[in-house]
């Protein structure tokens, strides 16, 4: 990182979960990368806005304890984690589709 770069620190990947109705189970809707839980909440809410969610929650990916698989990449059945903002990242079908399509 350049010495004069005003932004320090590494983003964490947060897994995003949501449900449309109180009676629904949470489903994994995608991931965001953020420098803090606060921004992860904002990014998740504004990115995955394809439904009127009853409830949404985020958790840092590294907070999960793996049960039967150790190898990377660790995802929760969703798309692979977003990389460095490359064009290829836009092609992941379930990744940022919600926000880009609206």
């Amino acid at each position: 990182m350049r010495r004069d770069n005003p932004i320090e620190g590494v983003d964490r990947v947060y897994e995003v979960f949501a449900r449309k109705d109180r009676a629904d189970r949470f489903e994994h809707v995608g991931t965001v990368q953020a420098p803090s839980a606060e921004l992860a909440r904002v990014y998740a809410w504004q990115t995955y806005d394809e439904a009127k969610w009853f409830e949404m929650a985020v958790a840092p990916r590294d907070a999960f304890y793996r049960v039967n698989r150790d190898e990377a990449p660790f995802t929760l059945g969703g798309p692979p984690p977003v990389g460095e903002g490359s064009v290829a990242d836009f092609d992941t079908p379930a990744g940022y589709g919600g926000a880009l399509a609206r």
Binding site: D4, P6, G9, Q33, A34, L39, V42, T47, D89
Partner: protein
């Protein structure tokens, strides 16, 4: 709804408002609508080029929120004798009542954060003062708007904290926040603003300029202070600032903007009015 609620919301439409209040209320709504519209444009300037893909998406969402809020308020102005189409598409720069902070694009990300944290919060504080308004059309619109604004504030707070983690970032915040800080203190208007007194008297807003400024300070004070900026401090009586807000001649009262600034620059005006697509405009 109880009798008390019914009585509290005495004004179901603009025509029900007392004569002395109707015009000032229309002006306040126009100020708010113009600020929302222009602020939305400033967010949209950063959909591409924000420091992170997610931040760009956040700017896109915030721009859409602001435009939505602006559209709702412009539509309300029809009942106050304004022509919304004219307001949105046909005015000169000198007719806009948006803050001078919005006259030109934010130069850098810290400048956008200044708008995001300081000005957007000022607008929300003003809307909050109408959450229980005696003017029913506003009362019914405010809560959803404020729900959306909660995320704008958290975006601003998260990014301000992040930039503040390096000396370079903190310096960039200091440079960007100083002018916006003073402009936002001024934005609520002088203590003795007669327009606000009339609106408060009629129960349309629940507080005048000084109290609204204090509410704004209590919201943004902890954020700027946490970032190490010497703009606000907490005292025994709440958050205060050593920065003086003075108005003198450089103020247009009903417009809530500097009298010396000309209005949105040419490119801003062209875009905000939709000049490029004028032949395609539909009502």
């Amino acid at each position: 709804m109880s009798d008390v609620d019914t009585a509290a919301r005495a004004f179901k439409a603009a025509e029900d408002l007392p004569g002395a209040v109707r015009e000032p209320m229309g002006e306040l709504l126009l100020v708010l609508a113009d600020n929302k519209r222009l602020l939305g444009m400033r967010y949209s300037d950063w959909i591409l080029g924000a420091p992170a893909l997610e931040a760009g998406i956040a700017c896109s969402a915030m721009a859409q929120d602001e435009w939505g809020h602006g559209r709702i308020v412009y539509a309300m102005l029809r009942d106050f004798g304004y022509d919304p189409h004219h307001l949105e598409h046909e005015r000169d720069a000198s007719e806009y009542r948006s803050s001078e902070l919005l006259d030109r694009p934010a130069e850098g990300w810290p400048d956008l954060l200044a708008l995001n944290l300081l000005l957007d919060t000022a607008l929300s504080v003003q809307f909050e003062a109408m959450a229980e308004s005696s003017f029913e059309p506003v009362h019914y619109k405010v809560q959803k708007l404020l729900d959306e604004e909660r995320f704008h504030f958290e975006h601003a707070r998260g990014w301000t904290a992040r930039l503040a983690t390096t000396p370079q970032g903190r310096r960039s915040l200091e440079r960007a926040f100083a002018p916006a800080w003073r402009a936002c203190l001024r934005w609520f208007g002088p203590s003795d603003d007669p327009v606000d007194a009339a609106l408060e008297g009629a129960g349309i807003i629940d507080a005048g300029p000084d109290l609204l400024r204090a509410r704004w300070l209590s919201r943004v004070g902890p954020v700027v202070s946490g970032a190490g900026l010497e703009l606000a401090e907490e005292t025994g009586v709440g958050w205060t600032t050593h920065v003086d807000a003075t108005w003198d001649d450089d103020w247009k009262p009903g417009w809530r903007r500097s009298a010396e600034a000309d209005g949105p620059d040419e490119d801003t005006l062209r875009r905000v009015r939709g000049d490029k697509n004028r032949p395609l405009l539909m009502d």
